[in-house]
Each structure stands twice: as structure tokens, then as C-alpha cells.
Chain length 393, copies 2
């Protein structure tokens, strides 16, 4: 199906990896790929104005249907003229379906073929989400790219359990496709299948037969070993069509982005760069550094002298350290601007390297100097996720 | 004494009130008066970048010597090239002496003629402040205007107690003047005397005889009835020289600013506009409104349709309400931008009215439509202040 004002143009593939550079045309502008989407769960990239997000060079953000459904409510945003207008963001938006948050944040009451009944993590009120409602909500929000509802199993669930979740995800994808009314939104399906190559293949084959305009890979990076994440990504991408965008959900550390791009991924999203920024962890080309460290208390240089972001252009590391010591909100902003700039800059360099045929050497040299730091933050969040799932099932 | 690059030019006085318009020349730019200074206690106007503060039109900010002394430490800021460079603010700065914070925030150990011994409100560590140290610290910070150390009595202290504090303030002012080394900073003295007209007069007369380049009125707006604040302001201003700037400390609500200007005040500072913004209280020409109120949950208009600030130009009241519901940090920023814009705009209009001889009618018409709201926030803070003083004496 042709979607007006939507298309994906593959510009360059790599001779010695699956990395590729392209362009995603949306009703709200062209998005160069590979691309990383910052997360604006509540209709704001935490701490930043839309102008700041633009100044960083971000072309598309992700917003969470689950959060916006609970607060302020889908009807409010619809009455305000849709999500773009509500959050004053005139570039592209992708909304997730709400599925992942229901399985991670909310307290799950019942999953059936019909849909999910859950309790709000805010006030415990009961709600339900079905594939039909997921589309209805996302059509009301009006993002450029919307996602089919999926069931996301835990990384250590049994084969049978993962297979059942996959089959349900397939039925739900069909139902989402069937009820879609708006012709100006691209609906992506989500490949599931856990860490079972056989199921990943089955899922990719089934969903591609339905001819979605794009495909996401869900249910990964949830606590399984990183080599498994990468193997599953590879397995899945191999069965996805060349001419459609591929989206690896929930991945956003520099090292993971490079590995994802090397395996043919075009789109990434993750709250990691903005979340760790608020904890004082800042990306540099040498690795993650924590600005709370006393070593920064008298450093006149910026955190990252190679960086051209507003934070590094304007302030010393000592000032940023001071703001974090005092818990001044400005500190969280400045760290967020830096981390998003770093990631956006990294994606830009990755794309440039693909275009001029040097991606592999760029990747090797980046990973040689970058210390892939402690994954404490990422892992602790995933552990919480798993715990909440085990408790609720 | 002439101070290079510093001067105060009186441009216009009012025929039917003591209101006056002028210009304060500082090494970091010209400040039109009457002027309101936002508070940047820790070297940042809470939540905002220096660019945002500039965009609002602010020409001078206040920073707190006490806070900066405790964190990051005066020597750190000095090593970073001074406060202007540290906080990336190239317009004017006024630093207070630290006295008020020691008497309100810190736990007071001993006040003697020599100085004050206090414990940090952060970690309980013991420190001392003397007039000589207050100047030494402020010279190291490098603000354009610096303040003499004063002893600030409570509003209900006895005549004797207030008189003793006043005499000590006078001695301290002399000592401050004596040890001042930098010739590019204007040192203002602080008139004390509590709510006793006789002491106010005595204090104003003594301090003006020392020929400071500017005079502050301290020890007011601390819980005494508002008519007393105004009467004391009037009493004091009457004895201050026409050709020197007058600074009423700790006053910043719209209604108080108008009353202060009417009594001949040129400079004001207060954390009120920024503090109440973070609680969701927003200024409008009709009075203070709280954005958390459910009435705003679906309002497509901005909070204040008459306002041209970034917040009101860009977002609906519903969006701001939503950000506050979710405790998104962006909400605190947007509210701060609005409140500072409102106050800056008000000062601009006040100045215009003085210049064209319509100040009294402007004041009357503003106060007729503006609901001088509940002073809960202001009062509760002052009560805390009084409580902490009683506990520590």
C-alpha cells in the first residue's frame, strides 16, 4: 500500500556489513537514517523545549501512547489539535502502541486474544487496550509513524510461552492493519519470537507477508546476553525486506547503536541517553563519565572538549559539577543536551561513514577508544522490568 | 568616591509620588531602573540558561555569597575566572553579603562585634563570616555591585535588640568600606532599624554620612504587616540621597513592586516569582493563577493571552497543566520563564509610565484589576525564617 507523503529511500549499502544509509520521508519532514529517536514519554523530551531538541538536530522523537492515554488523556490531546500541536513539535513523531509499557510499568490483570486489561501505575485504575484501541488512540494522537500492538514476553520465558505471545502478536498486527483509517500514518508491525531463532524467522516471515511499510524488532535488549541480542537482530533482519525501514526498539547506547547499524537497523529509540544524563553520566568519545565525580570540581574545560553542543560551548565541567552537587534543575538540562547531541552526532558520523564506504573502520576505531562502561543503569532497569512481570503473572 | 564604569543617572522623577526612573551604569552594561533582579542563589536562575534569562530582558541578577561560599566554594569560582565567567552571564550581577542567609538558613552559633560563627545548613560544618571576609569573598566573585555585611533582626525583636543590631551593622559597614580593594565594584550599605522609625532615621543618617554609592533597605518584609513595611520604606527613603540608587531587599510581588516604586525604590530582588512558578503559580494581569487547577486541563489558549513570553507564545495552558501533572521538569522552566517575563514586563511598563508622567494612574489601574492573592507562600517562608531564628537564639 502506498502511503501519501511517506516513503523510505535506500541510498547506500555497505560492501562489508549490513549497514545502510537512507531517508525516511514523513509528512513532518525527511529523516536521515540510521536515526536515533529521543524519548518524549509524556509529550516532552524530559527537561527540553522543542526548540532545544531541534537545535540538537533531532528529526524525529518517540512519544508513549500509554503515558499520554493516562495523562492528559487521548481526547484532550485530540481536542488540542493533536500531539504535534500539543507539544509544539513540527518535525516527525513515532508513537509506540502502549504494549511495552503495559507489560513493564502497569500491573497486568489479564491478557487474552481480545486484548489486555491492566491497572494504571499512577492510580491503580483499571483500563483495557486492544489492537483496535491502540490504533484508535494513535490515530487521535496523529504521529507520523504508529506501531501495532504486540505482546512482549520476558527474555527467559519458555518456548511455548514465547510462541503463544508471538502468535497473538501476529493476530493483533492483522487486526491493527484492518482497522487503520488514516492514510497519512505509516503503521509498523513488531517482530517477536524472543531468543528463539526459529520463532524470530517465523514472525518475520508472517509479518512481512502482510506488507507493512516498516518493521520493528521487539522483545530484545531485556536482560538477555548482548551476543544473543545481536544474534537475534541479525537473524530477524535477514528476513526483512531491503526496501522497508527496520526499527530496533529500546536500544540507545553508543556501542549498541553501532552494532545495530552494522546489522542493518535504520531506526533506534531509547530513554537511556536522557535518563543517564539526569544521573550525571555523560557520553564522551572515550566512554561514559560521571560529572558528579570530584575530579570535575575544578575543571575549567568543558566535559567533552571535542563536543560542539551548547553545554560544552558554554560551560566548564566545574560549573556542571556544581549544578549537580546543588541538584539545580539546569544541570539535568545541560547534561541532557550534551548526551542527545553526542548520540545525534554519532549517528551523523555513522551515516557519513556508510556513505563514503568507511563504516567498518569507523566502527572499529570508535569501539577501540570508547570504554563500553558498566551497564548498571541499563541492567538495573531491565531487572525491574523482569521482576514486575514475574510478580504479575 | 568615583568608581570607574559605575554611575547612577536619575532621568525622571514623578510630580505626584516618589517614583523615579533612572539608569545604573555598571561594567557589565546599563540597567534601566526601577529594576527587579531575579535570584540565582547557586549561580543559576533556577531552571534557566543565561540565554533564556537574557531573552526575557533581564539586565542584572542576584547571586548569594553564602550559597556559593558553601558550594562550590569561593576559591573554585575565583579559579574559574570569576562568577560572570563561571555562570556564563555577561550582564550585571549583584551579590549579597551572605548575612541574611546566615541569619535565616544557617544555624547561628554566635554573633559578636567581630562577626558571625554559623553552621552550614547543608552539612553542619562550622564557618565564620566577618565584614572583612564578606568583602574578600565578594571581591573574589567579582560581581558589579556588592553588599556590606549586616545583622538582620527579626521583625518583632525588642527596641534594644534592634538598636544593637543596627549599631553593629553600622560598624560592619565601616569596616567593609575600609577593606574594599577592588575599584570596579560598587559597595552598597544596608540600612537597618527594624520597624522603629527613630532607628531607621538614625541608620539612614549614619550610613549616608559614609558616602556609599548606593543604599539598601534591609530587615523588612519579614512578617510585619504590609503597611508597616511601606511606612518604614517611606521613612528610610526620605533620608537617602536623591542621586544614589536605593534597593529594597527581598521584595518581588507585583503589588509590592508598585508600592515600592511609588516610595522611591530603584532596585528590588526576590526569589518569589521563580519559587512560586515552580509551584505552578503564574502571574497574570488579573492576579495569580495556579496552573495545577483542573480548569486549565483543556484550555487551548495560553495561560495569559496578553503575554508575549516564549511559554505563552508556544504552548497551551492545557500543555503546561499536563507537564505539572506529570512533574515534568520542562513545566517548571516554562512557568519560570513566564513569571520572570511578567515581572520584567511590569517593570518596563512602570518605567514607561514614570517617564511619561502617568505612573500614579498606571499603578491605580493595575491594582484595580490585579487580585493581590493569598500570600500563603511568602508568609509560610517568613514564618520558617522566624522559627529558625527563635530556635537558634
Amino acid at each position: 500500500m502506498e502511503i501519501p507523503n511517506h516513503s523510505f529511500r535506500l541510498i547506500q549499502t555497505c560492501p562489508d556489513s549490513s549497514a545502510r544509509a537512507g531517508e525516511l520521508i514523513t509528512p513532518h519532514g525527511t529523516v536521515p537514517t540510521p536515526v536515533f529517536l529521543p524519548v518524549g514519554s509524556q509529550g516532552a523530551v524530559k527537561t527540553l523545549t522543542p526548540e532545544e531538541v531541534k537545535d540538537i538536530g533531532i528529526a524525529m522523537v518517540l512519544a508513549n501512547t500509554y503515558h499520554l492515554y493516562l495523562r492528559p488523556g487521548i481526547t484532550v490531546i485530540e481536542a488540542m489539535g493533536g500531539l504535534h500541536k500539543f507539544m509544539a513539535w513540527d518535525r516527525a513523531i513515532l508513537t509506540d502502541s502502549g504494549g511495552y509499557q503495559i507489560f513493564s510499568l502497569a500491573s497486568l490483570r489479564r491478557v487474552s486474544d481480545e486484548g489486555v486489561i491492566f491497572r494504571s501505575h499512577i492510580d491503580g485504575s483499571q483500563h483495557s487496550l486492544t489492537p483496535e484501541l491502540a490504533i484508535q488512540f494513535q490515530e487521535a494522537l496523529g504521529a507520523d509513524i504508529i506501531m501495532a500492538l504486540d505482546e512482549c514476553p520476558a527474555h527467559d520465558d519458555s518456548f511455548d510461552k514465547v510462541q503463544r505471545a508471538m502468535s497473538r502478536t501476529h493476530q493483533w498486527a492483522e487486526r491493527c492493519q484492518r482497522v487503520q483509517k488514516r492514510s497519512d500514518q505509516a503503521l509498523y508491525a513488531i517482530v517477536q519470537g524472543g531468543t528463539f531463532p526459529q520463532l524470530r524467522r517465523q514472525s518475520a516471515e508472517f509479518l512481512t507477508s502482510l506488507e507493512f511499510p516498516g518493521y520493528a524488532i521487539g522483545g530484545l535488549s531485556l536482560g538477555e546476553p548482548k551476543r544473543v541480542t545481536l544474534a537475534m537482530t541479525e537473524e530477524t533482519v535477514a528476513l526483512l525486506p531491503q526496501n522497508k525501514p527496520r526499527y530496533l526498539m529500546g536500544v540507545g547506547s553508543p556501542e549498541d547503536l553501532l552494532e545495530g547499524v552494522a546489522r542493518g537497523i535504520d531506526i533506534f529509540d531509547s530513554a537511556l541517553p536522557t535518563r543517564i544524563a539526569r544521573n550525571g553520566a555523560l557520553f564522551t568519545w572515550q566512554g561514559r563519565h560521571n560529572i558528579r565525580n570530584a575530579a570535575y570540581s575544578q575543571m575549567e574545560q568543558p566535559v567533552d572538549p571535542d563536543c560542539n553542543c551548547y553545554t560544552c560551548r558554554t560551560f566548564s565541567a566545574a560549573y556542571l559539577h556544581h549544578l549537580f552537587s546543588c541538584q539545580e534543575l539546569l544541570g539535568y538540562r545541560l547534561a541532557t543536551i550534551h548526551n542527545l547531541s553526542f548520540i545525534n552526532n554519532l549517528m551523523h558520523k555513522i551515516r557519513g561513514a556508510i556513505l563514503n564506504g568507511t563504516f567498518n573502520s569507523f566502527k572499529d576505531s570508535f569501539l577501540a577508544s570508547y570504554q563500553p562502561t558498566d551497564e548498571d543503569v541499563r541492567l538495573s532497569q531491565k531487572q525491574k522490568w523482569l521482576k514486575s512481570r514475574n510478580l504479575s503473572q
